[in-house]
């Protein structure tokens, strides 16, 4: 790779470590919602009739639609991860975009659902809601807090997907990046970059004191490391998306179905 001898670019890649980190993070997310589920359980126990009535005022159809949308989005997310593992990058991007659109559809539904309630004066702190029994105030308080926090997670998931889209579409990779200490040791020498067949792709001039950084970017191909790192990123984002999904699977019956 270089005339100076054994330049070993040691990249730190640990897919298992990254997954452990992600799972630990998911535990924290579960507990974050866990606090709210605990509150829900206690207030449901305290005000069963009011919860029953308030729940019947929600639109079960919209709720069911959103459940369908989110479950489907989890499927397309898995398909995206699977496609990338089979090296089908374009297909992976396609499924990722579909997942993103389904997430957006979920939020649009949510927007209209909330908007409808708010137009009837049912929102936290409203004068209208204060006329209702305490149990209903609690129900709607929890409804807005829990679906709100969940919606925030959907939004974050979508932003993550945009980043992934960018990472997966990028067709360049940095082959050499040298600065500071590592660069100094090559002072006065010439660096060359060769491909697998031994053909020289790039050659530097003599490295003097005035050069502070060298970065060589190769276009049109993706290195194995980038591929692997993209796979890990997509896999972890998939895990996050399923968490968002599974929380909704509990929110849906607790808010929409208890009156049925």
């Amino acid at each position: 790779m270089s005339q100076a001898g054994e330049l070993i670019l040691e990249k730190h890649h640990d897919p298992i470590g990254a997954r452990i980190g992600m799972w630990l993070f998911l535990f924290t997310e579960l507990l974050l919602f866990g606090g709210l589920f605990l509150l829900y359980a206690i207030y449901l126990n305290k005000y069963p009739e009011e919860f029953h009535f308030a729940s019947s005022q929600l639109d079960q159809f919209v709720g069911a639609m959103n459940t369908l949308i989110l479950l489907t989005s989890s499927l397309t997310m898995v398909l995206s991860v699977g496609s990338l593992q089979r090296q089908k990058r374009n297909l992976a991007i396609l499924f990722l975009v579909i997942t993103f659109l389904l997430g957006a559809a979920f939020l649009v539904n949510k927007y209209f659902e909330w908007g409808h309630k708010i137009s009837h004066g049912i929102y936290p702190g409203s004068a209208e809601l204060m006329l209702h029994p305490k149990g209903e105030i609690m129900f709607y308080g929890l409804y807005y807090s829990m679906t709100g926090l969940h919606g925030l997670h959907v939004l974050v998931g979508m932003i993550i997907m945009l980043f992934l889209w960018y990472f997966l579409s990028k067709k360049t990779h940095t082959a050499v990046s040298l600065k500071g200490e590592a660069l100094e040791s090559f002072s006065g020498k010439i660096l060359t970059l060769a491909d697998d067949t031994g053909r020289n792709i790039w050659k530097s001039s003599t490295l003097g004191e005035n050069i502070s950084q060298i970065e060589v970017t190769v276009k049109g191909e993706i290195s194995e490391e980038t591929m692997l790192s993209n796979e890990v990123k997509l896999h972890n984002s998939g895990l996050y998306w399923h968490l968002v999904d599974i929380i909704w699977i509990f929110l849906f019956p607790l808010f929409y179905l208890i009156a049925m």
């Binding site: 054994e6 330049l7 070993i8 670019l9 040691e10 990249k11 730190h12 640990d14 298992i16 470590g17 452990i20 980190g21 630990l24 993070f25 535990f27 924290t28 997310e29 579960l30 507990l31 974050l32 919602f33 866990g34 606090g35 709210l36 605990l38 509150l39 206690i42 207030y43 305290k46 005000y47 936290p124 702190g125 204060m130 029994p133 305490k134 149990g135 105030i137 609690m138 308080g141 929890l142 807005y144 807090s145 926090l149 990046s177 600065k179 500071g180 200490e181 590592a182 100094e184 040791s185």
Partner: protein
Amino acid sequence: MASSMAGNIAAEKSFYEVKTEHPGLLAWLLSTDHKRISIMYLLSMLTFFLVGAFIAIVMRLELLSTGETIISAHTYNALFTLHGVVMIFFFIIPGIPAAFGNFMLPLQIGAKDVAFPRLNLLSYWLYLVGAVIALTSIFSGPGPADTGWTFYAPYSIRTGTNVTLAVFAAFLLGFSSILTGLNFITTMHRLRAPGMTFFKMPLFCWSLYATGWIQILATPILGITLALVMVERLLGVGVFDPVKGGDPVLYQHLFWIYSHPAVYVMVLPAMGVLSEIIPTFARRTIFGYKAIAFSSMAIAFVGYLVWGHHMFTSGISDTSRMAFSFLTFLVAIPSAIKVFNWLATLYKGSIDMQPPFLYAISFIFLFSIGGLTGLVLGALATDIHLHDTYFVVAHFHYVMFGGTGFIFFAALHYWGPKMFGRMFNKKVSYLAWAIIFIGFNMLYFTMFILGYKGMPRRYYDALPEFHNLHVVATVGSWILVSGLLIMLINLLVGFRKGERAPMNPWGGTTLEWTVPTPPPLENFHEIPLVEHEPYYHGNKEKEMK
């Protein structure tokens, strides 16, 4: 990214001397090196510690004489809130893990860095942003929060002070703490050197492991609770507001579901440091390695189930009070296992009374007083008498300051020379220890008596019959602070101008003592192969048997 060169980096260049990408302060603020991040944490925390101590001195000064003297009742409320928030969220919770864990964990397990170096830097930034927001809450708008560090509802929802900002700062610090825990656990699972099994890890790592799990599994509850306080204040949802059908006692439950385990986030790493220092200065391997490791995990586990003991007078049912009281007593068992193992390690050891050991060994004495008075508070009948009195204040200062605080100082003396490359003046350290120890006991032991006699906490004034004892406590606070200043100045001067520290000044046996002082950028030129248990002092042990 860790793209590095194999081999030919000049052998003795420490991480301070290696040329960095960015100049000046940015070389620190943008560095993902665990050693630089650790030192940034350390300096920030010591700053906050001094701020917290200063606030405490002002409060003690107000209590020196009866009646309103230097500050008003409202200012006093704001000050004890600030003192609590600063000391707990900015000093003692991140404390040992973020400062010493960050530096020593990779070194102790033979790794080049933590598993997620950039996440590590993000943790520090969150800490820093949290600090800036907390400062903003003091000096802007309606003034600092006056709720106490516990932010109890419904007062925290109704008070006009800057609670929302203060709570948001605490929320960010919680997030920072979660990420540190997550990082450390992954590091221990993935980056241990070859040969280092879990049961060959130094006990400090084990304590960080237990701490990490608490950080991950308890802190989110605080996150959601504080978020709900913010939502309450901004939108008026009402989950903790009785007017709207909410229940303020639920706030207490949620708050303590985190904040009691958080007590173990504060104290477990300290126990870990002690388990390092004792074998080093007793020149013996630790007694009951596995018992100490497992008791850390046991404390972490049982610590989850005892939060109700903060609420014995909040109107929870008798059944749950008895259950919580019983579980509270259970925590004493793994704690005592540790204490007896440490003592057994010292037995027949050849003890070398160096400053780190002196500070560390005070833990056993002070923590035992704190722990035993904890049992008094954990018992239902006595707690009714002592709840919300100075007895509680004394108890947790003995545990937190006498326990974790002293170990923090011990760690500064023990690992400081390794981190900064220079030695401090030992004689001044001994002197400072004596002053701190006298001042500490004068201040806080007096509080036990005050509390037992009925002096309530969080009052800016006291009845005349408590006056004499308050004078004793305030004088104690002056002695304590002078000792602290002498100690910190001695360390500061030593670490800047002292003589160069050798590679292994204390005769430690763990891996951090096998690298140069201060360590090079990538810690180990070659990842070491671990063959021995961590506290292996030759075959002295076998000869003795």
